[in-house]
């Protein structure tokens, strides 16, 4: 804790307040335009034909009958999206997912698409496309797929990351390993060693807005794409690469986005819509149905985790070891790797080893979902820690505190931590009134911790000072939850003006340099850093203008509360110049005033949380309800506390849904059984209590205002917190998420049999 924390700014005026958001009125009046809300002249309706099979080779696709149907303007198959450009860009899997090549790999995999004059015609045309399949054996379960006897998805898949390199193909696409010390030695030193397998089922991000885009390609080879996405620069780059266009020729505009949570970071429909438009020479709107969203857009991994931990009687965790198998869909991802990295990140362990295995299955391509891969690993580790605490008779919070990671701790995944918030969040939990509130019959309380890396990456912002003194900020990161308000606050803070004077908009892909997506909790972190830099550059310009006006060296001009102030003795009788004073005469002394920033926003600063949860279980039916919930998380500095709370609450609610009810259910035929909100059961309003929040502010030394990302960590602890609560209520250890009523009832009955 001796390291100096450099936070130049601490006395905030705008940052930390709770003004209303600039997009609020549009969103309560129906004006806000989302992916499906744009109509272009001459626009066609697109639809995608999808595989009904989990695994099959495509023998033949005959589109002639569909092409002959009046009103059909274009049909595309893999032929219209050739392999070569994708190969050159390393996007083979992305392309293959968007449009199947020789094989279909999951129920819902796209095989063809049509553009027609209306929805009715498009629907009819799909029926007229004749696809001949040869059905292959499939595998959807993560553990079955890892078995050497399982049907192999890709005959050329030789496990990467192991030595010697295997000669036989399998579904284990990649292995990655992390840790330090010697776990064998660690287990020997332990008084208690426990081993268990934990499983979590596949969950979907469940954003309410289905994927949607409008693509318009012109015969001159340029194009426009309107799309709900978390990253329009990434979409532009990848679509341009897949279609063989210069990036400058494709202008991508991000619509308002109706939720993403990681699910809108990948291409699904967009290259197909562009290919349809190119072929039809007309704009094409392509919107997924809800069923398509579930069948054919990215859920998170299903996971199976073998974990072993050892502890001494005095509460020192001597070793932690985990092997994590994560389903990756039909193509390799980094999901198990992320799980392996995050598993033990909350703790300071001498001996730790984690092995992640990416497992290929006949399910849709795994996609990022809010702190991807961390909740499953936390479910295993945090459940295990509670069990160890019970074994040695120690309070679970105290056991965590005894082993907690601090500044200077070497993380299990490699780096050494700076100032971090896990210990303060545990201390806060310990004294939180929730911890000591009485419980009723059939209720239990649990707690758990969570970690997420956070990300920074490339950002580019453009800040323009208008003649009337108002400020326009253009950013390239998508606003998913109020970022425009937060960024206006940051700029208002830096310039020393009112929040209302700053209007933030999201620029399209032609207006700014490359920005990475709104993922990795980076939106506010990275764009605020860039916006602050832009504001500082604009201040520099304005100071120079003031110096010129006063005929003093710029070193004698200060920026104070939105004004240029002359500080030299000679000129200090001059009245300060406001932004409007300076900007209104810009035409006479140098032209428009702006600040531009292009940067890599390093130093995102890791994020930690502790959650407390009370559940009530009906012991006769297994029905479980969360009756009280508290989130304690480090925000670095909360720019707009209300939106920070919103992130905490939203993540917790998603975690609760996953913990209790959400799961992909596949039939023996490899088809998804519950592709809708009726049977994929996300929490409804009456399922949840109010979700209390406590924001901790342990400044991130790498950000001028100390900001950390806050978007993701809140989904990490709930699975374990709820599992621990059920365990504390009934003495049963839940090892399978979701803890659905049948699973809870089974566990209760088994426990009863054991004690009988």
């Amino acid at each position: 804790m001796n390291k100096e924390v450099k936070i130049p700014k601490m006395d905030f005026k705008s940052v930390g307040t709770r003004p209303i958001r600039p997009d609020g009125v549009d969103k309560v009046t129906g004006r806000a335009r989302y992916g499906a809300d744009l109509d272009l002249p001459g626009q066609l309706v697109g639809r995608v034909l999808r595989s009904p099979h989990a695994h099959a080779s495509i023998k033949k696709i005959d589109t002639s009958k569909a092409e002959a149907l009046p009103g059909v303007k274009a049909i595309v198959t893999s032929k219209d999206l050739p392999d070569a450009p994708a190969k050159a860009a390393g996007l083979e899997a992305t392309l293959e997912n968007c449009m199947a090549r020789k094989k279909v790999f999951y129920d819902g995999h796209a095989v063809a698409a049509v553009a027609a004059i209306d929805a009715k015609t498009a629907k009819q045309a799909l029926k007229l496309i004749d696809v001949e399949y040869k059905i292959l054996k499939h595998v959807t379960d993560v553990d079955e797929a890892a078995d050497p006897k399982a049907p192999v998805l890709h005959k050329d898949c030789l496990t990467r990351g192991v030595k010697p390199k295997p000669v036989k193909a399998s579904n284990i696409a990649r292995v990655s390993e992390f840790g330090h010390g010697n776990v064998k030695k660690g287990f020997k030193a332990a008084d208690i060693v426990l081993e268990r397998n934990f499983r979590t089922e596949q969950a979907h991000q469940g954003y309410i807005e289905p994927h949607a885009c409008v693509a318009s390609m012109s015969p001159d080879g340029s194009g426009e794409l309107w799309v709900c996405t978390q990253g329009h620069f990434v979409f532009r780059q990848q679509c341009a690469q897949l279609l063989g266009l210069d990036e400058s020729k494709l202008r991508v505009t991000s619509s308002e986005i109706g939720g993403g949570f990681g699910g809108k970071t990948h291409l699904w429909l967009e290259p197909v819509a562009l290919a349809l438009s190119r072929k039809a020479n007309l704009p094409v709107k392509l919107v997924m149905t809800r069923e398509e969203v579930f069948r054919a857009s990215g859920p998170t991994s299903a996971a199976s985790i073998d974990i072993k931990m050892g502890v001494t009687r005095d509460g020192t965790i001597t070793a932690g070891e985990a092997t994590l198998r994560y389903s990756s869909g039909p193509w390799v991802g980094s999901w198990a790797m992320l799980g392996a990295m995050t598993s033990f990140a909350c703790y300071d362990l001498e001996n730790v080893k984690t092995v992640g295995k990416e497992i290929l299955v006949n399910r849709p391509k795994t996609t990022a979902y809010r702190a991807p891969s961390a909740p499953m690993a936390a479910f295993a580790v945090e459940s295990m820690i509670d069990e160890l605490a019970a074994q040695i008779g120690m309070d679970p919070v105290d056991l965590r505190l005894k082993n907690v990671a601090r500044e200077g701790t070497r993380a299990s995944y490699g780096p050494v931590y700076g100032p971090i918030g896990i210990e303060p969040s545990l201390e806060a939990a310990k004294i939180h009134p929730h911890m000591s509130a009485p419980l009723k019959e059939n209720q239990g309380r649990g707690m758990a911790c969570g970690f997420w890396f956070n990300f920074g990456g490339q950002a580019c912002t453009d800040l323009n000072i208008n003649a009337d003194g108002s400020v326009s900020l253009t950013v390239g990161t998508i606003d998913v939850g109020g970022a425009r308000a937060s960024l206006s606050l940051v700029v208002a803070e830096e310039l020393g003006i009112e929040y209302e004077k700053v209007k933030t908009v999201i620029g399209d892909s032609a207006t700014l340099g490359y920005n990475e997506m709104t993922d990795g909790s980076r939106g506010t972190f990275a764009s605020s850093m860039s916006a602050i830099m832009s504001a500082r550059k604009a201040i520099d310009v304005m100071k120079q203008r003031a110096a010129d006006t006063w005929d003093v060296p710029v070193s004698e001009v200060e920026w104070v509360d939105g004004h240029a102030v002359a500080k030299g003795r000679k000129k200090s009788n001059r009245p300060p110049l406001s932004i409007a004073d300076i900007a209104s005469v810009a035409e006479k002394n140098g032209g428009p005033i702006a600040g531009h920033t292009e940067m890599v926003a390093d130093g995102a600063g890791v994020s930690f949380a502790t959650h407390i949860c009370d559940v009530e279980v009906d012991p006769e039916t297994g029905q479980t309800r969360v009756v009280r919930y508290t989130v304690i998380q480090d925000a670095g500095k909360a720019v707009h506390p209300t939106y920070v709370e919103g992130q905490f609450q939203g993540g917790a609610a998603q975690g609760i849904g996953w913990a209790l009810n959400e799961e992909y259910v596949y039939g023996d035929d490899g088809r998804l059984q519950n592709a809708g909100f009726l049977d994929y059961r996300i929490p409804v309003c009456s399922d949840l209590p109010m979700i209390d929040t406590q924001i901790l502010e342990i400044p991130n030394p790498n950000h001028p205002y100390g900001i950390r990302g806050v978007g993701e960590t809140s989904i990490v602890p709930p699975l374990a917190a709820i599992g621990n609560a059920v365990s504390n209520a009934f003495g049963v250890r839940m090892t399978h998420v979701p803890m659905s009523p049948p699973r809870i009832l089974d566990a209760l009955e088994k426990a009863e049999l054991e004690t009988a």
Partner: protein
């Protein structure tokens, strides 16, 4: 065969053409241009397309456009009094009861119906009345608070 339907929509007489199997949601969005009616599922599970049909709260995806003949339809576009927002609209913004906002029009429609029938609902009543509207961003906390606050404002006004 297309049908010509005449309805009163947000107070105006509106004629629109639709297919006999076309939903009211599609007709409102694509024929009348009311894009505030959102499609989240098309099967009545998410409530994003909620509108008032003859004063009753319905999912417009579960109504045929043809059924609207001679009936009145209210959508989120008709909720404010000109530029003056309805208290629910104001409170949703103030409480940050929306993050992405795609579910918001449906929630506003449902909350309006609730408060018309029950001006002083309990938290539990609010939660059950809004159970037909899915929100994936907020965890509902701030939505419930916004409705409670709007209800208080509306009770004060009606006194």
């Amino acid at each position: 065969m297309s049908m010509l339907i005449s309805s009163t929509i947000n107070g105006d007489t509106v004629d629109f053409i639709c297919e006999p199997d076309e939903t009211l949601m599609d007709a409102l969005r694509n024929r009348v241009g009311l894009k505030g009616v959102k499609e989240g599922c098309g099967t009545g599970d998410c409530g994003a397309c909620s509108v008032h049909l003859d004063g009753k709260l319905v999912c417009s995806c579960l109504v045929l456009g043809a059924e609207a003949e001679g009936r009145t339809v209210e959508t989120v576009e008709g909720m404010s009094d000109g530029a003056k927002l309805h208290p629910l609209q104001t409170k949703f913004i103030e409480h940050a009861a929306l993050q992405c906002g795609i579910c918001t029009p449906g929630f506003l429609m449902a909350a309006q119906t609730l408060l018309e029938n029950n001006p002083d609902p309990t938290e539990t009543e609010i939660r059950y009345a809004l159970a037909g509207n899915l929100c994936r961003c907020t965890g509902y906390d701030k939505i419930v608070r916004a409705v409670q606050d709007a209800a208080a404002v509306m009770r004060k006004k009606s006194k």
